[in-house]
Amino acid sequence: MPLISVVDDDASVRAAIENLLKSRAYTVHPCASAEEFLRSPELTQTSCVITDVQMPVMNGLELLAETRARGYDAPFIFITAFPDDRIRTLASSAGAIGFLAKPFAGRTLIKCLNTALTEHRW
């Protein structure tokens, strides 16, 4: 099973997503911040990154840019509590597979994840 990294500074949201993905038998690597993810060895093995947009120090978009800059092309799914169009556009243009507004339905996330993993397979 592919490794899914979840980056969110909100512990309960992070735990809930981890819980959801584990119930669907995914392997999950939770990170509290963008820096933690970048530092972690799972960076190279991650099949998909699910990240919050609004985070202190480094936000989700910056994390995407940094990951690409480091030469990793794992698909990104953004989740945000501030679903404004400006950020959605920025996320799409940066190559995000999905953009979900909190709160989102679990199956939407799963569906989006499956899409990302499928597309990434080639």
Binding site: A16, N19, L20, L21, K22, S23, P103, F104, L109
Partner: protein
């Protein structure tokens, strides 16, 4: 006795011649050898011859010589004194006998002849004397300066000498043969008659008396008359009177008597007794007054001891010293001492004595003792009254003085004058020193007074001046002076009094100030009363208004309607508030005082609010007469209260609006805060389904998912509760609060906002601060507002960490202080004073109400929002909240 030497010379001559003759006879006889008898005869003849010369002794002696010669030369033996012949002896004896007898006879004859001659001469002399004497007697009678009168027993003047008549202004013939009584005073005539009778009864005896005679011109003359009764021719008795003018002596005598009487009287009046004291004889003389002073019987024999006996025991030693000293030194003395009289009274005596030399060379003191008791008492009285006066002057701060206008000096000044000028009276300040203390501004006035006094012819002056005491204290003096006109008609002195009126002056100033203040106050109260809406009223027993003070609210319109009406007839709220009026009327009927009855009166459709208080009043016998009280138009304050209430409401609404606005600004943050737990809940729910939907459902995981769901749901509802609380439009609720809790809750709402703007929050909350009294929501609004401002201020900051610090602590005054510090752009100098004003903003968007509202909220909490700028960038907004009173107390 003068003829004794003559007799002796004659006897000697007689003897010598006789002896020579005998010697010659003897020689003659011897030559012829004459016979004894012959010789004896011859000798006898010589002896008898010489006896005629008169001296019997010489004759005797001659006879003896003859005897011797007979015996020697002629009786045998010759040339021997021995006689042998008895015949011879008989011859010699016969010779001796004859010689002696003859001599004696001759002597006797001579003496008889001499006596006869003497008698004749005497007779001749006395006849001449008699003639002379008669002549002298007449001269004396006529010219002796003694008046002679000769009167008969009937008193008729027989003779008077010219002197006597002249003295009385008469010619002698005008008096002779007239009654002598004419020249006596009628009153003295009887006396003279008696004198005459006395003289006649005692003829030959002298009588003397003194009487007055009347001159022809009627004037009187004192005479001393020496009279004697005589038998005159025909044995008729006459009286010869010699008169001597004693007018002068009499005058002297009378004068002496008078002066003696005067002296005695003077001594008595002056209480001065005189004394004389001969130290040698120790026999003093005391005048009558001296006896009286010392309280002794005038019959007592005076002595120094008597003085000592009377002397007061305390003074006795001194007096003894004086007496002893006088005895020894014999010098003048003077002393004062007291007598203790038998009745216990005390007399003061002053004695002075002068030492004089007596004829015998001793010392006699002549002096005077004066009873000075009354003077002493007067002196004591005077001293006492002077003391009283001084005391009175001292007490009344009044000094009296007399000023010599020409010499420019004090003739007299009482001690109090010195004291008024701040000098010690004992030291005797100089004129210059005194004048130098007169206030310089007052000197011209005083000078003017003295000049005026010299010009005026007497007059009274009243003026005030000031004395500057050392140290600068001012003493105010009121002076009353009077100009004294001297004997030369010129004003020489000013006499007057200085009175210290400082206290009165101050009192008057105070009074004047008080009066001014009172007038001001009166005016003020009149102004108040006339402008205020208070008025005084009085009602009768029927509660209708009888009196109203002049000024009433709304210009008397109300007054006119009130008169004669009970209160409830003009009130407009009687129907609306029946219970209030029922209670009020019950109180009135019970004659109870009432306070702060508020009712309304309709005025042109607008209610006027009146507050009335009153108390009943009664007559002397306790009968109810009515009410007196005060009413106030409180419409304005009622309206003000209403307005304030409205304002408070508006304020709260404004605060709410801004709060909601702020919440609007926080929408995204708040949505995030809500969406996070919702997202977690949904995810966990899906996960739960996932765990359950497995071939082998993992119930444990599913259960854990449900637990998380519950936690996140609670978290979401908590956020919603806070937002609701802030958005709620509620009344201000002041409750004791822990400010740290308030801060933490506020932070919960802005956490996301802080994160979004990359702002790090640091809180330094002092644990366990005492509770404050406040409204939780409004205080949170303030904190959120300050945090949001801080975040905004730090937006431009790129080069440093954006840090926001929230502190709570206790300030110096025991209040709880909250400070919110950012490190942003800070506040421009121009803006610092306006930053708290409403509608001031530096933002492109925003109403600018945020800080203004914060300030209002904090002021309602008794706090003040202040801005503190520090060295480092940024700004600190802080406020201090008073502690909850219950805790403080």
């Amino acid at each position: 006795m003068s003829n004794q030497p003559i007799n002796f010379r004659r006897s000697a001559t007689q003897f010598v011649l006789g002896t020579i003759t005998i010697a010659a006879l003897t020689l003659t006889s011897l030559y012829p050898h004459a016979h004894l008898a012959t010789a004896a005869f011859a000798y006898l003849a010589v002896a008898l011859l010489f006896s005629l010369m008169g001296s019997f002794i010489a004759s005797g002696a001659l006879s003896m010589v003859c005897v011797a010669a007979l015996a020697y030369f002629f009786a045998p033996p010759i040339f021997n004194l021995r006689i042998d012949d008895p015949q011879a002896v008989s011859v010699v004896v016969a010779f001796l006998t004859t010689s002696i007898v003859g001599t004696h006879l001759i002597q006797t004859l001579r003496q008889q002849r001499d006596a006869a001659l003497d008698t004749v001469a005497k007779l001749r002399q006395s006849a001449a004397d008699l003639r002379d004497r008669e002549k002298w007697g007449r001269v004396i009678f006529e010219h002796n300066p003694v008046m002679y009168f000769m009167v008969d027993e009937a008193g008729t003047v027989l003779n008077v000498n010219t002197f006597g008549a002249t003295q009385l202004g008469y010619a002698p013939h005008e008096l002779i043969d007239r009654s002598v009584l004419n020249i006596f005073l009628k009153d003295d005539r009887e006396f003279f008659r008696k004198c005459v009778v006395t003289c006649l009864e005692n003829i030959g005896q002298s009588h003397t008396w003194e009487v007055q005679k009347i001159r022809k011109d009627g004037s009187a003359m004192w005479v001393r008359e020496n009279a004697k009764g005589l038998r005159w021719a025909d044995d008729k008795p006459v009286i010869l009177i010699a008169c001597e003018d004693i007018s002068e002596r009499k005058r002297t005598e009378l004068a002496l008597q008078r002066s003696e009487a005067h002296l005695a009287q003077a001594q008595e009046l002056s209480h001065t007794g005189s004394f004389g004291w001969d130290v040698a004889t120790e026999e003093p003389f005391w005048s009558k007054e001296t006896f009286r002073i010392f309280g002794y019987d005038p019959q007592t024999k005076p002595s120094p001891q008597l003085v000592l006996d009377r002397t007061h025991p305390e003074d006795r030693a001194c007096v003894q010293d004086v007496i002893d000293g006088a005895r020894q030194r014999k010098e003048n003395f003077e002393h004062e001492y007291r007598l203790l009289m038998p009745d216990g009274s005390v007399k003061y005596i002053r004695a002075r004595a002068r030492a004089t030399k007596t004829a015998s060379g001793g010392t006699e003191f002549v002096g005077a003792s004066t009873d000075i008791t009354s003077a002493k008492q007067a002196e004591q009285q005077l001293r006492r009254s002077e003391a009283y006066l001084a005391e009175a002057q001292h007490l009344s701060h009044t000094g009296s003085w007399s000023w010599d206008l020409y010499k420019r000096e004090f003739v007299y000044r009482s001690a109090e004058v010195d004291r008024l000028f701040g000098f010690d009276p004992k030291e005797g300040a100089s004129i210059d020193a005194i004048l130098s203390r007169i206030h310089p501004d007052d000197v011209p006035r005083l000078r003017k007074v003295t000049h005026q006094a010299m010009k005026d012819n007497g007059g009274n002056y009243e003026y005030d001046f000031r004395i500057v005491l050392p140290g600068g204290t001012i003493r105010r003096i009121h002076t009353v002076a009077h100009a004294v006109v001297g004997s030369d008609g010129r004003v020489s002195e000013l006499i007057g009094t200085h009175m210290d009126v400082t206290a009165q002056h101050e009192a008057r100033e105070r009074l004047e100030n008080t009066l001014v203040a009172l007038r001001e106050s009166e005016q003020r109260f009149r102004d108040y009363a006339e402008t205020a809406s208070d008025w005084l009223w009085e009602t009768g027993a029927d509660h209708s208004v009888t009196h109203l003070s002049d000024h009433t609210s709304y210009g008397g319109i109300l007054a006119g309607e009130l008169m004669g009406q009970p209160r409830w007839k003009i009130a407009s709220d009687v129907e609306a508030e029946p219970e209030k009026w029922r209670q009020h009327r019950a109180a009135l009927d019970a004659h109870l005082p009432f306070r702060d009855l508020v009712y309304t009166v309709d005025r042109f459709g607008t209610p006027i609010y009146i507050r009335a208080s009153g108390k009943p009043f009664f007559d002397a016998s306790g009968n109810f007469l009515g009410y007196r009280g005060v009413s106030t138009d409180i419409t304005a304050s009622i309206r003000a209260e209403q307005a304030e209430r409205e304002l408070r409401k508006a304020h709260a609404e404004l605060a709410h609006v801004t709060r909601v606005t702020a919440l609007g600004e926080l929408t995204t943050s708040i949505a995030h805060e809500v969406n996070q737990p919702l997202a977690a809940i949904i995810s966990n729910a899906d996960a739960c389904l996932g765990w359950l939907g497995r071939e082998a459902p993992d119930l444990s995981e599913a259960g854990r998912s449900v637990e998380w769901i519950i936690e996140d749901a609670i978290r979401a509802s908590e956020v919603i509760r806070r937002v609701r609380a802030l958005a709620k439009k509620s009344e201000i609720e002041m409750v004791p609060l822990d400010i740290n809790e308030v801060v933490k809750e506020a932070i919960a709402l802005v956490t996301r906002e802080l994160a979004n703007h990359q702002v790090t929050l640091r809180t330094e909350l002092t644990p366990a601060v005492p509770p404050i009294l406040g409204d939780r929501v409004q205080l949170q609004q303030v904190i959120i507002n300050l945090v949001m401002n801080g975040i905004e201020a730090m937006q431009p900051v790129k080069d440093r960490v954006r840090e926001l610090v929230i502190e709570s602590c206790m300030d110096d005054m025991g209040r709880v202080q909250i400070a919110v510090t950012d490190c942003g752009i800070g506040i421009a100098d121009d803006d610092i004073d306006r930053v708290l004003d409403p509608f001031f903003t530096t933002k492109s968007s925003g109403l600018g109400m945020g800080l203004s509202i914060c300030r209002s909220i904090l002021e309602a909490h008794g706090a003040r929002l202040s801005i503190v700028r520090k060295q480092e960038p940024g700004a600190t907004f802080q406020f201090a909240l008073p502690l909850h009173k219950e805790v403080v107390s």
